[in-house]
């Protein structure tokens, strides 16, 4: 066996198998990697070979798809993404927090709202520097403040934010270790992360086709179904060469090349020639950001007009078609939704819309989605989501080759119908040993993440639904209030693995909320000094996963599922601990340690993970430890698993949907009953140009001042806000652009015509702005973007010039819409909004903000620790 599969015996290195992925939920591990270690140092990180200790034929029941004379097989190695390979640099980052720190001008003796010396100075959050303190001082202060807040306001005055992306860990979970402690302590308010990856599907599609819990279509065996049956794939706002990386690696890439080899045509519908389109597209149909609803409507118009849809299928599988047809054909509002009507709205010519409608109707077509992207996280995202579903329904959803196919999250939340890849014999599950918070957790009281700034800045608010990220459709009809009856307003915030500012709605509002005098205390735990941690009064140092023992499953790769115990690769840096250990220390000081841990040690929990993994009958604990990993064989008969909506297609009566009628609801029963007059999410999906929540389309009054449409996908070179300090990634031309001041700015994609009109040239530092704030970036002038549209991916490290006003790091989410998906749907709207861009006068900015520009920054890693520590390191 070649040495590249095994440890480097001769070099004296030790090889450890680690999950290096970044979702932060226990069911979602992936990217198994081999880490070679020598003398307490990480030498290299490389793909893991499934056949290192196992014989594929004997042990793994290898799958293969043999279709149209071609064979597709999984690779014998894991297809890990750039971030995993470069993770050494994240571990040893200059931004690593190595000891507890306190914000220098926050004095816990100060009265609430106090400013100046001896005050709490909440107004300085984001500006203040930090000083090193001892663990004792840090923990004593936190416990003192927790108890003071509880005595003054009650325990619900503490908001726990524990839902953000982070390293995948199980026993040492990167967020939410406090969720089991706080109820023992007396209670708390839980920030509920609304379904940010699936907004349009969750708030929209669930009312069309059910599909709990996130509203995306059934995925079972679809990768095979596409290969066998599809003639055309419409990648709609999908970039499978970007978004899946941190979750599952790069099998989607290999698949995309294979589908082309099979002769399956790939069309990409998106405002940007994204990274997948750049290499896989047979055709790119550029559509203006967040106008997809108009495009879908024109397609359905063409089908209704020419009868090129499956009428019989709709008679048995759908309700409300007449109401929809009446709207499309103009009987309801006098405006037929013709291709000529849609063309000026969506930027696609009428003749191309017609050609697309005809091609779609004449070929076995699936729509491919990949979360993120420009299509599903914008204002009124419920409408394009439902209209896309309607298009699929009109062509016989569930027919072989006619489904909504996901290029991400294969196996999401452990749901069998989410397994698009050949099914494994078992899906390892480590939930029992998991110490952190889970998307399905609920609490009373709670607050949707999107409403945190509103609640704090306005003092009260109300909303519908959002009991948890996996709450069923019916929950969207439950009315909730802040402050909840008998509960307190928020006066303290505990945050872990924080990334609110760079990832949510109107990050600048969040900054202002955290600067509000009502927030008397805020503490954070995180391995790196970055993003929201820069607002905290006390910061606790957390170690990275390579410094911890744990257990992991790799279940998202699409290749083989794995279970493996994880041994630490290096000793913790500085005085850092795992999140779980930190919460244990807090529990100890609160006198709750025994209750909190249930008497279990970390090794006990790791073994518990194995025992409850669903694989304990397939491999012994001893053998698992000796081999270092277990490969779950492919299930026998995976080929025969029904594909996507196949069963529903064949007999809707025997396999009903979870909609009230069990059928596809062109007019949503639930919405009609509860929100019959909501113009922003009407019972029948519509084109909504603007409304009480948003004015973010071209042609509105606002667009006179801010004429450009901004799209913002998930970033290619980081996972949300993670990895921004990996210097090697910053050396990639599409990751950062070095400005004349030596600072590495985040790229802003502009078409040459957009740039020229504004006197902007490649590499210029530019300001992207609207009334919500300003973000600096550097111009990336490219043919890959529509004219009058700019692209800036989210997640860039927040580096405020003036917190809440202007940012240098490129955190575009600081200026995205503050209002939610729509009035009654509290999703966030983070792509498809208006702004203007201009060349930045750096000298002028330096004169205006001398302190910000004098702050030291790492020329290759960006803003780091030295700018924030009193007297430097």
């Amino acid at each position: 066996m070649a040495e590249d599969r095994a440890p480097n015996g001769r070099s004296g290195e030790t090889t450890l198998v680690r999950d290096i992925s970044f979702c932060g939920v226990p069911e979602n591990g992936s990217n198994a990697s081999m880490v070679d270690v020598k003398d307490g140092r990480i030498i290299r990180i490389r793909p893991m070979h499934y056949d290192w200790k196992y014989d594929p034929e004997r042990d793994m029941n290898p799958w293969k798809m043999e279709v149209r004379g071609s064979i597709f097989e999984p690779s014998m190695k894991t297809l890990i993404p750039p971030y995993s390979i470069a993770y050494k640099k994240r571990v040893y980052s200059p931004a690593r927090i190595r000891y507890p720190m306190k914000r220098v001008d926050w004095d816990p003796q100060g009265a609430p709202g106090s400013t100046g010396p001896g005050g709490r100075n909440t107004q300085n959050r984001g500006k203040s520097k930090y000083v090193r303190i001892s663990w004792d001082e840090a923990l004593d202060t936190i416990v003192f403040e927790m108890n003071r807040i509880k005595e003054t306001y009650g325990p619900t005055a503490l908001l726990y934010q524990c839902d953000q992306h982070g390293e995948n860990k199980v026993v040492q979970a990167c967020h939410g270790a406090g969720r089991r402690l706080l109820p023992l302590w007396g209670g708390y308010t839980l920030q509920i992360r609304q379904p940010d990856s699936w907004e349009g599907w969750w708030w929209g599609s669930k009312h069309f086709w059910g599909c709990e819990p996130v509203g995306q279509g059934r995925q079972s065996n679809l990768l095979y179904d596409v290969a066998k049956n599809c003639e055309l794939l419409l990648f709609w706002g999908c970039d499978q060469e970007t978004t899946p990386w941190g979750w599952q690696g790069q099998l989607p890439s290999r698949l995309s090349y294979w589908y082309t080899e099979l002769g399956i045509k790939q069309i990409y519908v998106c405002p940007d020639l994204n990274y997948a389109a750049a290499v896989h597209a047979d055709r790119w149909i550029p559509v203006l950001p967040n106008t997809d609803a108009a495009l879908y409507l024109a397609i359905t118009y063409w089908w209704f007009k020419h009868g090129t849809y499956d009428k019989e299928y709709l008679q048995t599988h759908a309700v409300g078609v007449e109401a929809f047809e009446a709207y499309v054909m103009g009987e309801e509002d006098g405006i037929p939704k013709t291709p000529e009507w849609a063309a000026p709205i969506c930027g696609v010519s009428a003749r191309v819309i017609k050609a697309l409608a005809e091609e779609w109707a004449s070929k076995r077509t699936s729509v491919v989605i990949g979360n993120g992207g420009p299509g599903i996280r914008g204002p009124y995202a419920t409408e394009p989501a439902r209209l896309q579903n309607i298009c699929l329904a009109m062509q016989g959803l569930g027919k072989p080759g006619v489904n909504q196919v996901k290029m991400i999250e294969w196996g999401l939340f452990d749901f069998p119908d989410q397994y698009a890849q050949p099914k494994p014999l078992r899906v390892p599950n480590l939930r029992t040993a998991y110490t952190g918070g889970h998307p399905s957790d609920t609490n009373h009281p709670s607050l949707p993440k999107t409403y945190v700034p509103k609640a704090i800045l306005e003092g009260e608010c109300d909303w519908w639904g959002c009991e948890s990220e996996t709450a069923p459709r019916e929950d969207q009809f439950v009315h909730r209030f802040y402050p909840a009856e008998g509960c307190s307003r928020i006066h303290a915030v505990w945050t872990d693995s924080p990334s609110w500012i760079t990832c949510w709605n109107s990050g600048n509002d969040y900054v202002r909320a955290m600067q509000h005098p009502d927030i008397e205390f805020m503490w954070a735990q995180h391995p790196w000094l970055e993003n929201d941690a820069l607002l905290a009064d006390i910061i606790l140092p957390v170690n990275t996963k390579l410094e911890e023992d744990d257990i992991a499953g790799d279940i998202f790769s699409g290749q083989y599922n794995l279970l493996f115990p994880e041994r630490k690769c290096i000793e913790p840096l500085g005085e850092s601990y795992s999140d779980y250990e930190i919460v244990c220390m807090l529990a100890d000081r609160l006198g709750l340690l025994e209750e909190y841990t249930g008497g279990r040690s970390i090794p006990d929990l790791i073994k518990l993970g194995y025992e409850t993994s669903r694989c304990a009958d397939l491999i012994s604990w001893e053998e698992l430890n000796e081999k270092g990993y277990f490969v779950v064989p492919t299930a026998e008969g995976w080929e025969d698993e029904p594909a996507g909506f196949q069963r529903f297609y064949e007999d809707p009566g025997s396999d009903p949907l979870t909609t009230p009628t069990g059928l596809l609801e062109f007019e949503a029963t639930g919405l009609k009953e509860h929100f019959p007059d909501d113009p922003e999410r009407p019972p029948v999906p519509k084109w909504v140009a603007q409304g009480v929540s948003h004015e973010e389309t071209v042609g509105t009054e606002r667009s006179k001042k801010y004429p450009l449409l901004v799209i913002s996908n998930h970033p290619r070179w980081s996972v949300h806000s993670q990895h921004e300090d990996i210097t090697w990634l910053r050396e990639i031309g599409t990751c950062k652009i070095t400005g004349p001041d030596g600072y590495q700015y985040h790229p802003v994609w502009l078409h040459p015509s957009t740039a020229q009109k504004r006197g902007i040239e490649q590499g210029d530092v530019v300001s992207v702005y609207n009334e919500r704030g300003t973000v600096l970036g550097a111009a990336y002038v490219t043919e890959r973007i529509m004219p009058e549209v700019i692209y800036m991916d989210h997640g860039a490290k927040w580096d405020p010039i003036e917190p809440g006003v202007i940012d240098r790091g490129g955190a575009i989410n600081t200026i995205v819409p503050r209002h939610t998906t729509s009035k009654n749907a509290v999703g966030h709207a983070v792509s498809g909004f208006l702004a203007e861009v201009e060349k930045t006068d750096l000298d002028e900015l330096k004169r205006k903000y001398p302190d910000a520009f004098e702050k030291p920054f790492h020329p290759c890693a960006g803003p780091g620790l030295e700018a924030c520590i009193m007297g430097g390191e």
């Binding site: 590249d4 030498i43 290299r44 790069q250 750049a278 003749r351």
Partner: protein, 277 residues
């Protein structure tokens, strides 16, 4: 004897940079005597990926060209004193001791594959992962991490390699430099050839002109042909750059359309409206 060859398929590279990063991961901070001293922590691109946009909005593609040291058989960087030497297996190695202070070696590479390490005062480049191959690896770091199989390490004798080159249509990048690289490319046309493309519609009906015939000629000789698809678009690829071409589009019942262009780079002619005959 078996020699080191690297085959890179431009048609399978999507610029994930796994190879670029694996190289950094391997060599930054790690010494592998006697073959290499540690790469500086920033700035070197031993596996350099160039990127190029082909065409203009909205008919545009992107091509990527991963470029390590070419390990040329006629390597201009070789020095008589052994500071840069060629091994029997074809690898070209810069000796990290003997080459100390030799900044001149950086300039000797026509591919720009040699970098100067200021701190160590050393010229440095891709070693072909010789230290790993000697430990028994059958892959280089870059070929091992490549998720799509765009980079393949082939250890083969010259006869076998000649067969592979012919069978797969492999070619060196910039063969004109005459250095006989051991890194060979597949689908290199995506990098070094150009296309002409356009969208074609009928002026009278404003419909996409499907199946219009396209001919590209140079000096009266046809050098490329194609037809428009159902969106009225055509792309005629693999044309030599800087040529002067006549592009003609014909469709039954419509007047032929002809235009002369010089293709310095791939060109989208934009929308062509065919007039009724």
């Amino acid at each position: 004897m078996k020699k080191w060859n690297l085959i890179i398929d431009v048609g399978l590279c999507h610029d994930c940079n796994d190879c670029f990063l694996a190289d950094k991961d391997e060599f930054v901070g790690n010494d592998f005597p006697p073959y290499s001293a540690a790469q500086p922590w920033s700035g070197h691109r031993w596996m350099n990926i160039e990127r190029k946009e082909r065409g203009q909005y909205p008919l545009v593609q992107v091509a990527y060209l991963p470029m390590p040291c070419m390990h040329c058989d006629h390597a201009p960087c070789l020095t008589p004193d052994g500071a840069v030497y060629k091994r029997e297996d074809g690898l070209v190695i810069i000796d990290p001791v003997k080459a100390k202070g030799r900044e001149d070696i950086v300039e000797s590479c026509p591919y720009g594959a040699i970098y100067w390490n200021e701190e160590a005062s050393l010229p440095q480049k891709c070693t072909g992962c010789v230290h790993l191959l000697e430990e028994g690896w059958s892959e280089t770091r870059c070929s091992q991490v490549c998720p799509t199989g765009a980079i393949r390490l082939v250890l083969a004798d010259d006869t076998e390699m000649a067969r592979i080159i012919a069978a797969e249509g492999l070619e060196p990048f910039r063969a004109d430099l005459g250095t006989k690289p051991r890194v060979l490319y597949k689908n290199l046309y995506r990098w070094d050839k150009v296309f002409v493309a356009a969208s074609v519609a009928y002026e009278d009906t404003d419909e996409c002109a499907e199946n219009a015939q396209v001919r590209v000629a140079e000096g009266g000789t046809t050098v490329g042909e194609g037809a428009t698809n159902n969106y009225g678009e055509f792309t005629v690829d693999r044309l030599e750059p800087d040529g002067r071409y006549e592009v003609s589009v014909t469709a039954a019942g419509y007047k032929p359309y002809t235009v002369e262009v010089t293709l310095e780079k791939s060109l989208n002619l934009g929308l062509i409206l065919l007039q009724k005959a």
